[in-house]
Amino acid sequence: MSLGKHELPLNPWADRRICDRVVAVYELVKKIHMYTGLLTFSALIVFGIAGVQATLPAPSRRDRPEAKIEHVDFEAPGNLADKQLADRVYETLKPPLARPLETWALRHDGQGNLVLPFHTVNGLRKVTVLEKENRLLVATERLSLVQTLNHLHATVPRWAAPDLRIRLWAYYMEMAIWALIGMSLSGVYLWLAVRPGSRWGQVCFGAGSAAFLVLYWLAR
């Protein structure tokens, strides 16, 4: 791949070696920009879907599907603290994609039963420990695919559940975050290096940058 004659970012009086170096840097940045975009294509589409989903009005609560209810036999040892009991329930149910609950997430219902909300990218699995009945009440509220993608776009290694699928996705998100930063900057460089005089580019760059800066200033 080489630059066309009309695209050469050359200065007529510049030293030939410097010009060669400029062209080499341009070609390298262009390759990195292109390869990065292709490698993170799926993630960028997920980012776009998440943005559109966040822009559209959220579905009302009554439009959500009913929670699926099931009961699971479970004998709660009488000598465990709430957190230990929550960990025991987690070990028993092994709710897919969920992480063990922190102490602050534990709740009690009106009857004093321990309530454990396991949030995942697929929705909420709320487990109520019915100690007197020796069983667990499991209510599963499943999100739509688009809502799942919205949660996935925010899944980074720092917050990811221990599940391998989630961790692998989180690493991909981490890569996509760096790619987004890199492509934003390299995109501007590629424009400035080859077509800084393009009226089309100047208008878009000026309008987009001005819109962001004005909104940022007003929102402060």
Binding site: M34, G37, V46, T120, L168, S184, L185, V188, F205, A219
Partner: protein, 187 residues
């Protein structure tokens, strides 16, 4: 096609950069020290009739220049507490009913807090119009991402000598991404 890619990219580059940097902050919080400042002031309130949270907020906006969405209203017989918020600034207001003063605790975020809050801003149903303008741009940038992806793939495909390595990278992206989405979804 090249102009379209350029137009989408250059009109959104600062928004995309902001999303990237704020995501990095959320992913690696320790790398970015907090720079927010908190101040407390007392403002004069002149209520002729029995105040409600909305009438209190209206007066704070008109007379004291507080701007933003009205949130977190708490009220009992003795006092009203509310929050007026925009991305860079949170005002927590406490007013003792019958008093002629309200205390305002203002949290002003620095750059990193600001872009974090902007990142979480979306939707077009805000009371404060400025946030709806931000919401419009969130939608625009999201659609632009689809445009950037589609035109980017087209431009790559036109580079005949980059097709093999590009196919490998795009194939990896689709196989890895879609496989994990399916695996997560069926879990």
């Amino acid at each position: 096609m090249r102009n379209t890619h350029l137009a989408f990219g250059l009109s959104c580059w600062l928004f995309l950069l902001m999303y990237g940097v704020s995501s990095l902050q959320m992913s690696h919080g320790g790398w970015f020290p907090k720079t927010e400042t908190v101040t407390e002031t007392s403002v004069t309130i002149d209520m002729e009739e029995a105040p409600t949270p909305r009438s209190l907020a209206r007066q704070l906006r008109q007379d004291h220049g507080l701007r933003g969405n009205l949130q977190r209203i708490r009220q009992n017989r003795k006092r009203i507490a509310l929050r007026i918020v925009r991305p860079g600034t949170l005002h927590d207001v406490t007013y003792r009913i019958g008093s002629d003063h309200a205390s305002v605790r203002t949290n002003r975020g620095g750059f990193i807090e600001m872009i974090n809050r902007i990142h979480h801003l979306a939707g077009l149903g805000h009371e404060y119009e400025l946030l709806n303008v931000w919401g419009f741009f969130v939608g625009f940038v999201s659609v632009a991402l689809f445009g950037l992806g589609a035109t980017g793939v087209y431009l790559w495909f036109k580079h005949y000598n980059e097709r093999v390595i590009g196919l490998v990278l795009l194939g990896f992206s689709l196989a890895y991404g879609l496989t994990l989405i399916v695996l997560v979804r069926v879990a």
